[in-house]
Symmetry: C2
C-alpha cells in the first residue's frame, strides 16, 4: 500500500468540482460535485438518528435500489433536515438537474447536505450551482481540493487521503474526502464522507466492506456526543482499474479492506482532530480487553467524556476522570486491575497502576498532555482484544462556535 497525494479524484475516471452558490455562506465555495465517467457500484452507511435529513432518505433509496450511482451533489450551509416533503422534493429536483446536465439517470445521482437544521434549501440556487459544477468539473488534484473545501462548515482544514494498492496485477487507487467538526458522534458523523475507487467489486461486497470498516473507524470518533441527522458515508467503485471483479472474500478483498481501512481511519482521525474548537487530537486505545466490543465501548467512553476532554485542554493528567469514564461505560470490570499510560509522539508515562495513581512526574505529564496528539492507553489486563477511539479537547471555542452557530 502506497500513500499518495489527493482524495476523491485520485482513482481513475473520477472528476470533482467546488463552486460558490451562495446557499447560506457568501464569498466562499459551498457546493461540490463528485462524478464518475462510468457508472459505479455504490455502498453507503447513514445516520442512525430517527430524525433523518431528506438527502439521507434520498440516498438510501439510491444505494439500495439503483443498480449504479454516477454523481454526488453536496451543499454546505443548510442541512435540509426537518424540512418535510418540500425538503425531499428539493433532493429530487437537484438530482433531476444533475441528471440533465450530466446526461445520466436521475436515480444514479446522490445528494448530501450539511449545515443548519430546519431551513429549506433555495432550490433555484441549488440548480444553478449544479450547472456551474458540471461546467468546471475535472479529474485534477485541484478539482478534488475545490470539492472538499466546498463541503466545509465549521471545519478548519480540508480532509482527504488516497492510497494505491495492487490487485490482480492492476494498480487500484482508493481515495476519499470528508467534512465534519461539530454534531460529530457518528453512529453510522454531521459528517459527510465520500470514498472513490477504480476497483472492480460486486455491490454486495462493497457494501459489506464498508459496513465492516465503519465500526472501527468513523463510528469510533466523537466531538460532542451528538449524532447528526445527516451523517453519510458513500463509497463509489467504478471498476476502471481493470482488475478481475472481486466477488468473494478472498485475498484481493482483504487488500481492499486494508486500503479502505487506511482511508477511513485517516479521515476519521482528521475529523476528530479538527473537532469544533479543538486544539488536540485525543486518542484512547484500550488493550487486553476481554472482547472487541468491550474495548470499543470503553475507549469511546473515555474520548466522549466532557471532563476528560476539558482535562486535555487544561493539560492536566487527571487519572480519576479517566477511571470514572471507564467505570460508567457499561462494562463490568475490576477497577483494581487497570493500568493507564499517557503518551505523545515524544514521551510515554504510566499514570495509573492497578487502579491507583502512580507517583508520576507532573511536569512530564503536562508536557505529554500539551502535545497536538495525546494518546491514553488503558490496559485492562484481562484478554487479548483492543480498540481505539478518537476525539478532541473541549475548549472555550467549542462553546463559542455553538452558542452562536446560526448567526
Amino acid at each position: 500500500m502506497r500513500i499518495i497525494e489527493g482524495g476523491v479524484t485520485a482513482a481513475q475516471g473520477f472528476e470533482a468540482a467546488g463552486v460558490e452558490a451562495a446557499i447560506k455562506y457568501q464569498n466562499r465555495k459551498d457546493m461540490a460535485m463528485l462524478y464518475s465517467r462510468v457508472p459505479c457500484r455504490a455502498a453507503g452507511v447513514f445516520t442512525s438518528n430517527v430524525v433523518k435529513a431528506a438527502p439521507v432518505l434520498w440516498d438510501k433509496e439510491v444505494v439500495e435500489h439503483s443498480p449504479y450511482a454516477q454523481a454526488v451533489i453536496v451543499n454546505a450551509g443548510i442541512a435540509n433536515a426537518c424540512t418535510g416533503k418540500q425538503g425531499y422534493d428539493c433532493c429530487r429536483q437537484t438530482a433531476a438537474k444533475a441528471a440533465q446536465v450530466l446526461d445520466i439517470p436521475e436515480d444514479s445521482v446522490l445528494v448530501a447536505s450539511t449545515g443548519v437544521i430546519g431551513w429549506q434549501l433555495p432550490v433555484d440556487k441549488i440548480t444553478a450551482g449544479v450547472e456551474k459544477l458540471a461546467a468546471v468539473k475535472a479529474d485534477t488534484l485541484e478539482a478534488g481540493q475545490a470539492a472538499v473545501e466546498a463541503m466545509m462548515t465549521t471545519d478548519t482544514v480540508p480532509k482527504q487521503a488516497a492510497v494505491e494498492i495492487e490487485i490482480g496485477g492492476k494498480k487500484v487507487t482508493v481515495g476519499g474526502m470528508c467534512k465534519g467538526s461539530g454534531m460529530i458522534h457518528p453512529n453510522m458523523c454531521t459528517m459527510l464522507g465520500f470514498v472513490t475507487t477504480d476497483l472492480a467489486i460486486s455491490k454486495e461486497l462493497l457494501q459489506e466492506a464498508l459496513r465492516e470498516d465503519v465500526v472501527d473507524t468513523f463510528n469510533m470518533i466523537s466531538v460532542d456526543g451528538d449524532t447528526s441527522t445527516n451523517d453519510t458515508l458513500i463509497v463509489l467503485a467504478n471498476g476502471l482499474a481493470g482488475n478481475p471483479e472481486i466477488t468473494e472474500k478472498n485475498e484481493d478483498y482483504d487488500k481492499f479492506r486494508e486500503a479502505l481501512n487506511y482511508i477511513d481511519t485517516t479521515l476519521a482521525r482528521k475529523m476528530a482532530g479538527d473537532g469544533e474548537g479543538a486544539t488536540a487530537l485525543f486518542e484512547t486505545r484500550v488493550i487486553h480487553a476481554a472482547t472487541k466490543q468491550e474495548a470499543r465501548i470503553l475507549s469511546k467512553s473515555v474520548v466522549c467524556s466532557s471532563l476528560t476532554k476539558a482535562m486535555i485542554y487544561g493539560h492536566d493528567a487527571n487519572v480519576g476522570r479517566i477511571m470514572c469514564a471507564l467505570g460508567y461505560a457499561g462494562v463490568d470490570f475490576d477497577p483494581e486491575q487497570v493500568d493507564i499510560f499517557c503518551e505523545s509522539d515524544e514521551d510515554r508515562m504510566q499514570i495509573c497502576q492497578n487502579g491507583m495513581l502512580t507517583d508520576y512526574d507532573e511536569e512530564t505529564a503536562t508536557k505529554i498532555l500539551s502535545a497536538p496528539e495525546v494518546r491514553v492507553i488503558v490496559d485492562m489486563k484481562r484478554g487479548e482484544e483492543s480498540a481505539a477511539a478518537w476525539g478532541c479537547d473541549l475548549t472555550y471555542d467549542y462553546v463559542k462556535i455553538n452558542a452562536d452557530y446560526r448567526s
Copy 2:
C-alpha cells in the same frame, strides 16, 4: 404540604455541623456532620459507576446490613475514590472516631466524600475534624446551613429544602441538603444528598420510597454526562414524629412519597441550575409520550446534548438541535408528528409543528432563551405519559473550571 425554611435540621432530633478541617481547601468549611439523637432507619442509593469510591462501598454495607444509622461524616476536597484498601481503611477509621466521640455503634456511621479522585485522604485531619464537628453540632437552622456549605466543591450556592406534612394526626417534617455541580449525571449524581425525616416508617418501605423517587428526580438531571464514582443519596428516618409506623403502601405512604418527591425534585433542580459554569436552568418536559420510560429517555437526551446546552447559553432557539437530540435518544418515533414549545416564566411560544420550524418570532425566542429558567416542551402526540429532565447551559466557565480543577 407546607414548605418551610431549612434543610436537614428541620425534622425533630436531627443535628448538624460544618467546620474547617483543611483537607484540601484552606480557610473554608470542608467537613460536615449529620447526627440524629436517636437511631434512624436508613435507605440509600449509590452510583452505578463500576468504579465506586471507598465511602460508597462503606455506606452500602451500612445501609444493607446495619439495623440503624445515626450519623454521617462528609468531607469536600478529596473524593477517596481509586484509593484501594488504604481508602477503605480511612472510612473505617472515620467511622470509629465518630462512634467514639458520639457514643454510637461504628456500623451506624455513614461517610461521604467529594473532590479529586485518586488522592488519599489525610486520616489525622479527618479524625481531628470529627472531634470538632461533634463539639459544635446543633439542631439549628444555622448548623444545617454550616453543614451544607461545608460539602460544597464547585457549587456556587448551598442547596437545601424542607416541608411539613401531617401523618396519623402527627406533624412530620422532611428536609434535605445536597451538593453537586460537575461530574453530574446521576445514575443513581458527584452529587451527595442527605434527606432527614422524623417519620416512623419501616426500613423496607423507606428504601422502596427512595428507589421509586430517584427515577424521576435525581436520575433526571445532568450537568455533563459524567456519572461520578461517589454519587450517594441517603435518607434517614428517626421516628420522632410519633406517627404510627408506616409498614404498608397506604395513604400515609403516599403522603410521605409526595413530600419526599418535593424535596428530591427541589434539590435536583437546584443542582442542575447550579451546574458548573451554568447561567440557566434548562428543563425539558416531554408530554404525550407512549410510555413513561420513553418520555424519560427523550427528555434526558435533550438536556444532555452539548449542542442544545450551548444553544441555551447562546440564547438561540435552534430547533434542529432539539430534534436531533430527540432523534438519537434511542426511541423510535415519527419526527413529522413532533411539536415543540419553549417557555420562560413570562413567555411561551411554539417553535416546531409536525417536525418543521414554525414561522416564529426570533426576538421573542431570544427573550425566552435568555431567562434564568428555560423550559422546552416536546409534545410527542402519541400517548398519555410525560416526564421532565433538568440540566444547564454549556458555558466558557464550564470549560475553565474543568480545564483547571486540581490546581
